[in-house]
């Protein structure tokens, strides 16, 4: 379980990217984080594994308080959090297999990793996962020779190789076509569910978020302005998150039946409803 309390980040430039964000993501929950550009979504994700040092607040993963850890312990904690990037962030001049094995770097010593002497079990797991995402015939291809969708699948496998408890996913589909986007999202959700992982997924595509995530959190200017189930996402809510716009074409037609009528729940109500 991931607990974030009062997380605040002010960059040296003076931008207040996060302003007292509190969140709890239980094991096995897939949470989508939406919000306009510059809302602080990437900053939030990066503060969790401290690629960005938070200014104030606490992050706890299970019993570990990540914001308190020293260098060594932080590296050990990072092994428990797999990260998936928008532009894939594969090491381009390494092969698919090397990229996947780099997920194990936190577990093996420097010289073993330098000579690529990974434990057999790791390599086996790598083959199994690559087969799972349909890339087992490409293990020795260099990462820069792959298509975007293939790269992202390698990125997913790399994150899973860490055997994480939590997935941090920053706009996994932003550089992909609509069909591949759905496939990638489906893959992430499936794998997260299989392994009972908690996941935070930053995403710009609201429809996609509604389709795949059980819980949606809206961020605006560094504050949480919405927290609720996908079904509670109404044009009014989107307006509080993103600003005035015609949202009718954006929101997925929610399978009717609740008979809620025209009255959409207020942001505050949605928040209460979603609180576990």
């Amino acid at each position: 379980m991931l607990v974030i309390e009062g997380l605040t980040k002010r960059y040296p430039t003076g931008d207040l990217a996060l302003d007292g964000v509190s969140l709890t993501v239980p094991k096995g929950q897939v949470m989508a984080l939406i919000g306009p550009s510059g809302a602080g979504k990437s900053t939030l994700i990066r503060c969790v594994n401290r690629l960005v040092e938070p200014t104030a607040g606490a992050v706890r993963l299970g019993a570990t308080e990540i914001t308190r850890l020293g260098d060594r312990a932080l590296r050990r904690a990072r092994r428990r959090m797999g990260m998936i990037f928008q532009e894939y962030a594969l090491v381009e001049r390494l092969t698919v297999m090397e990229n996947v094995l780099s997920g194990r770097l936190g577990y093996v010593g420097f010289w073993r990793s330098w000579f690529r002497r990974f434990p057999l079990a790791d390599i086996e797991e790598a083959f199994r996962l690559l087969a799972r995402v349909g890339l087992d015939h490409m293990v020795d291809k260099r990462a820069d020779a792959l298509s975007g969708g293939q790269r992202q699948r390698v990125g997913i496998v790399r994150a899973l190789m860490q055997d994480p408890e939590l997935l941090l996913v920053d706009e996994p589909t932003a550089s992909l076509d609509p069909k591949t986007s759905r496939q990638i999202m489906r893959l992430i959700i499936e794998l997260a569910k299989e392994r009972n992982l908690a996941a935070i997924i930053n995403i710009h595509d609201v429809a996609l978020a509604q389709l795949f995530a059980e819980r949606i959190v809206g961020l605006h200017a560094g504050r949480i302005v919405f927290d609720g189930p996908a079904a509670a996402l109404t044009p009014e809510v989107l307006t509080t998150i993103y600003g005035e716009e015609d949202w009718s074409a954006t929101i997925r037609k929610v399978e009717d039946g609740d008979g809620d009528g025209d009255e959409p729940p207020s942001v505050e109500a949605a928040r209460i409803a979603a609180a576990d």
Partner: protein, 272 residues
């Protein structure tokens, strides 16, 4: 580009404004005056009689150095081999030193931007400012004449060259790839080996081969100050005015440089 309105009201398009024009002309004027002044200085230290005689001298020189003394080549192979070794071993030594220096100098890999980085940058600058021939001059006094001084001279000059280009390459890498490796929980050394080294590898290889190519040229003259290689034979031949030998040496150097340039172009092509 400004449009200027005259008093009569006609609008004229010009490249620069008046003030800009004036500055440009002044700049040119100063440049020309400086050049003339400098040339005057040199001219005062020149015996023009010799200069007017230069075409005759050149013709004479050419006549005396043709045909080259082909048989002399037998005595040169060893010197040429030494020259190649000076260049190659010097480059290898320089690479071994420059790589750590470059990592200490790049702001994204230096252990301390306040303490270590300035030292590394100073090493690079000091090495670069001094020509390898001057390094050789000093090293010959310290270590005596011979190849050791030559190898070290090449190495000392090349550390700065390789170090500078390499640390610039390190600073230009894609940070997200490094971030991704960091996010897996890798240690500092592993982040370096997995996130940074693969990215700078092509640049590193290209720079090394490039410098090796330059070093072969440099190594041909180190012998003039006694630091080994074919320059020693060149010096000896010039001192005894043995121009056919000089032309033979020049032909050999030409051949070597052409081959090394071809080789380094091939290697660079293969890497990129």
């Amino acid at each position: 580009m400004p449009v200027v309105t005259h008093e009569q009201g006609t609008r004229v398009w010009m490249r620069r404004t008046r003030a800009g024009d004036l500055v440009a002309w002044l700049g040119w004027l100063i440049g020309v005056a400086l050049t003339v002044l400098c040339f005057q200085f040199i001219s005062d230290r020149t015996i023009w009689g010799f200069v007017w005689d230069a075409p005759a001298q050149a013709a004479d020189l050419l006549e005396r150095s043709v045909p080259p003394r082909w048989s002399y080549a037998h005595e040169l192979w060893r010197a040429m081999w030494d020259t190649l070794n000076i260049a190659t071993l010097g480059t290898v030594l320089a690479i071994a030193t420059a790589v750590p220096v470059a990592f200490l100098a790049a702001y994204n890999t230096t252990p301390s931007a306040l303490l270590v980085r300035p030292v590394a940058l100073f090493v690079i600058v000091a090495s670069r400012s001094v020509n390898s021939l001057i390094w050789a001059l000093i090293l010959v006094i310290i270590f005596g004449p011979g190849m050791l001084a030559g190898i070290l001279a090449i190495a000392l000059r090349s550390i700065g060259f390789i170090g500078k280009l390499l640390y610039e390459a390190i600073e230009e890498i894609d940070p997200t790839q490094v971030e991704a490796v960091t996010a897996t929980g890798a240690g500092r050394a592993q982040v370096l080996a997995w996130g940074i080294v693969p990215q700078v590898m092509p640049a590193f290889a290209g720079i090394s081969v490039f410098r090796w190519d330059i070093n072969i040229r440099e190594a041909t003259v180190l012998g003039l100050v006694g630091a080994g290689g074919i320059g020693m034979q060149l010096q000896a031949s010039i001192n005894t005015l043995a121009w056919p030998q000089v032309s033979m040496i020049l032909i050999l150097i030409l051949g070597t440089v052409v081959v090394s340039e071809w080789l380094s172009a091939r290697v660079r092509h293969a890497i990129i």
